[in-house]
Every structure is written in structure tokens, then in C-alpha cells.
Subunit: 326 residues, 2 copies
Amino acid sequence: MRDVAQAAAVSIKTVSRVVNKQGEISEETQHRVQAAIDRLGYRPNRVAQGLVTNCTHTIGLVLADITNPYFAEVAHSIQESMRGQGYNMFLCNSSDSPKQEIEALQSLAMQGVDGIILFPTHQSEENLARFAPSYRPLVLFDWFYEHPNIGIIQVNLHQGACLAAEHLIKRGHRLIGMLSEPICSPQRGRRLHAFQETLARHGLPADANSVVYVDPTVEGGYKGAQQLLQQAPSITAIFAQNDLMAFGAIRACQQANRRVPHDCAMVGFDDIYLSSIFSPALTTVHIDRRLLGKLAVERVLAMIEKPEQTYPPLYIDTELVIREST
Amino acid sequence: MRDVAQAAAVSIKTVSRVVNKQGEISEETQHRVQAAIDRLGYRPNRVAQGLVTNCTHTIGLVLADITNPYFAEVAHSIQESMRGQGYNMFLCNSSDSPKQEIEALQSLAMQGVDGIILFPTHQSEENLARFAPSYRPLVLFDWFYEHPNIGIIQVNLHQGACLAAEHLIKRGHRLIGMLSEPICSPQRGRRLHAFQETLARHGLPADANSVVYVDPTVEGGYKGAQQLLQQAPSITAIFAQNDLMAFGAIRACQQANRRVPHDCAMVGFDDIYLSSIFSPALTTVHIDRRLLGKLAVERVLAMIEKPEQTYPPLYIDTELVIREST
DNA sequence: AACGTTGACGTTAACGTTAACGTCAACGTT
DNA sequence: AACGTTGACGTTAACGTTAACGTCAACGTT
């Protein structure tokens, strides 16, 4: 910057004004400075800017597992939305562990991020309570914790799970197994509870015997389905809490010589891009990841720019996509 | 920091010494300062540290597409390896576009990252030539560009493609289709060329008619396989350049009433975690993503710490995993 | 006793920016 | 002619750290 100022025979403050388009400069000076900037290839140092403006043009994204395509697609959408705004994105994996999550939040705070987008994990409520007041805007997915610093984006999981249940019931299924992740907080159980509620409303059984709690991964779905088929062999359908689990469960069914959907129907959740080309193509609840990412970025940037405003939660509806697995 | 210094009745420099464990402090003072740090919840400001030390404890990861599980798994491994070292990771998608890639590199440079790990795209050579001299350590995957600032990690794609070809030939296939991404640089064509070489070595045809160039995605594989089956209907096997393409191709085969593997065998590349549970489970060339990420982090951190040393390329072997699709 | 060394700190300046305020000429207004 | 306003800059201090150097008492050595 000093070199540019010298080359253009102005003060560094004038260079700063040109870089930040702060006006109050004559066109002639502006051109001269710009020419010097181009000639010397000057780029402002974001670290120094960050120190004085307390604004680093970065946000942090903390999510459970980037290898789950659902998260990856949301991350991709967030990235794309932010790129145009000149923001860079830190990525942290929480591995669904509260300890790693809080570590990620702290390290992001040290890096001076302007805001954080977080898919919270279990046990998070207390962590958030400690963390939120101290820091920048935080946008949460699928969680609820009221605080002026916190923006909420809720996917209508309840609706999605109801749609899935009603679809299976309409197809004549009476005994339906469920694969859920372990439920460590009320927020975590929303899909399962809504599904069970719908079953109950139709007078169908939803006892503990038809639910298995496993990791929300392919592996988890595979093992969970094996267990489910063993402890409740008369089930004719399975509702998995996400598509990866459904993939694993389909595999388990096939290996147990249960054809999908003829011997056991399968419904997933998320509609990741592989669901439509899996064999059989998966019936699942669609969530618009692009919209999700876009809204998250809009919300967090709005909260950064105008922190005094209050921001009501945003809700995103889901949609049942019927394919070959039911 | 000033508050901590005041609370402990020392100078801020002494606090700095405690934080950075720079020694030369009495145990008693150290304890007193540490107590004040804990009590006040002081955390060093990485932005200010970055300005003075020119070291931000961040690295940038630029890759083509985070929604491809292969990249996602490498990103995950990089993240995990870095977490323990106190580094944070910027993530940028290049979308396989040279323009976006160079924009990502520039914005990372402005953020003052200490190093960059890059899965380069086509046209990159000239960009790298311009970029590399000006900046921090750069670690490249599957590319080659010799420069003291650049570290290389090569997956032995040649070996992998040969293994795949020999496997199909041994199974009796004589007419094999190939799905490749567009080849805009020699580096990009390594899998395809090695595969074609092996075919030629066995006296088998590898003409243009049996190759289709499409995007390295599920969609690309799907469309590519459709085209391949139309223009070369007598093929009995397809080699896809990555697993996602293979998934799409399997789908296309099934829809064309070609059973996999009976009517058309399929081999992929990468061995993403979904390959083993796909139906049919995919025969593919395994790449150790965890190792890849771990080595990349080790290399880039070593280059940051000791930039004067020279770092020879690292090579990673591949392995054929035979499953149901062949 | 004089001097050098060392341990345990403190002071000052700097990193590359921007915010806040200052300056000064030119111009218009009364 | 005196004064206020405004446009177009420049100066100074500050952001929160660390590097480089300074200080000073205590201690050992000759």
C-alpha cells in the first residue's frame, strides 16, 4: 500500500479510499491510484483490514460430517452463495461430537470469523447458551434456541416424516420399522416422533420393538436394518432417517433375501443426488439444499450487517418423492 | 490481553510469553498469569497474531467439487489431520473452472493463508506458473509442476487403470467402452491413456468409437453410457473414470435392459464408500483417501515450517477391489 | 571490590490497514 | 472584504499482537 501511495504520489489514506470506494476523491487521482494498484499488483491485506475493522470477510461452517452428501451439498450451496459476496468459508467437522463442536466454535472465534453457520449436535444447548452471547451471528439449522445473536432455519421435518408415513400407510403397510439416530435431545427426534405420531393416528403400532437407534451413516443403516429384520421379521417397510441409512438398509435387505420394495419397502430422507440413481431408486423426502444454503448465507450476512434487527426463524417445506423403493 | 496483564500485574509482553510458552518466566509469574487468563477467559486474537507474525494458522483447500464423495473424504481427512495441529481450513470450490480456481487462489492469498492444498483443474499450468512464485507452499494432487514452492502428491493412476484393464481382459472382455472426463491437459488423461495402453498391449481395440467424454459426475456417466451403448452396442464392459460416473452408467445400463455385470461389466475408480453398497456393488480402483489427506497436511505443514528444504513428490499406490459389477 | 553473566521481566516499535480528525485551497454568499 | 462551506486530500492514532532490544537485580568469578 505504501508503495502504491508513493508511486501515485498520494498518501496511503487516499489509496485506502480508492480501494474501498469511499468517495471524496477527484477522478484524476482515482485513475492515477488505480493505475498504480494495477501496475504493482497490489491486493489489500485482509488480515490487517480485519484487525482494524473487526471484520474479516470470513464465516465458519460447522457440520457433522462433510462426507454425507446432504451436508456436502448444503456446504456447496453456502460456498457458492458466499463467493459472490467476497466472503471466504472456514469448514469444520464436528463429527457429531459436542466436544469437537465447541472446539470448532472456539477456534473459529479466535480466527475472528464474522459469523458462523452451524448444524448443531446433541448436548449443544448448553454449549450454545455459553457461546452465543459472547459472539457473532450464529445461524442454526434444524434447531431452536432463542437469542438475538442466533438465526434459525428450520426444515419442516415434521411435515416430511408425516408425508413418508402416510405414503407407506396408503400403500397398505401395517408394520413399519424405523431407523433413527440416537436421540439425545428433543430436536434430534423430530423425524422419528412425527413418524410415530402419524402411525399412532392411524391406529398402527409404533412400539420400541420396531425402532433401532444407530449412527446416521450407511454402516449404521446396514447394521440397523439387520437388527430390525431380526427382532421384527414381520415388518413390510422401513423408514430411515436419512438416505445414507436407507442405502445401507437396502443392502441389508438384499443380503437377507428380501427384495426391495416387494418384500420390504424403503423410505429415506434428504433426497441426496444419489437417491435417484440407486437401485432401486429411493423414495425419499426431498429437502432443497440449494435453498437451504442460500437462505443461511443471506441470513448470516444480514445479521452481520444489521445486528440490531431481529430475525424470525425461516421455515422450509419438504416434499415426498416417490420412486422405486416403495 | 491488556486486561490480563493488569489483572496479573505484569506487562502484556509477559502475558504474550505465557501464551506462547516462550520461557524465561518464573513459575510463580506463569501461574499468576495463567490464572488471570483462565479467570478472564482470554483467547489470543489470531488476526493480530497473523499481522505481526505473518502466519495465520490457516490453510486453504481448493477442490473441484465437494459433493463428490471422493473429494469430500479427502477434505475430511485433511480437516482431521489439521485439527490436531491448531490449523483451520478454508474451503473453496473451483467447480472445475480455471477462472474460479484462480479467483479462489487469489482470495485465499488475500486472507493470508499459510499454505494451499489444491486439486488443480485444466488450464491450470499457466495459472500455477503465475501464482506459485508469488506465494506460500502449494501442495498439488495428481499434477506435476516443478517449483520450490510446490509439493506434489501423486496417486498412481497409471497403475490403477492398468489393473482395471487387465482385470476386464482376464474376464474375457474384448470390446470395452470408456467414460472419461474431457481431457484438457496431459495430466487429466492419465487414467484413460493407461487403460488404452493396456488394451493395445493385449492387441485389443481402443479406438475413438469406444470412448465418450463427459462430466465426471453421475449425470455425465449416465448420459455417457447411453451414448456409448448406442454408438458401440457390442461392448461387454465399461471403464468409468470415477465411481460417480460408474453409478450413472450402471443406471443407464439397467434402463437399457442390460444387466450388470451379466450383459455389461462395470469398473469404476476411487472406491468411494458408497461403492461397496451400491447394487451391484462396484468393482473399482481403491485410493486411500485418509492417507492422501494425511500426507497432504504433513507436506504442507512441513513446507511452511521449513521452506528452504526441497520436497520430492510423494506417490500413493492404488489397489483393485473386485466386487459384483464384474 | 569490580565486573561479567544471566534470569526475569518491561518498553518501544512495528505488522498493514482504517477511523477520526485536520488542513487548505477554491468558491460562493452577504 | 470577510466569512462559511465544501471538495480533496493528508496526519495521527489505533486495532491486538510480537520482535527486538533494554533494564536491573542477583549472583558468581577473579
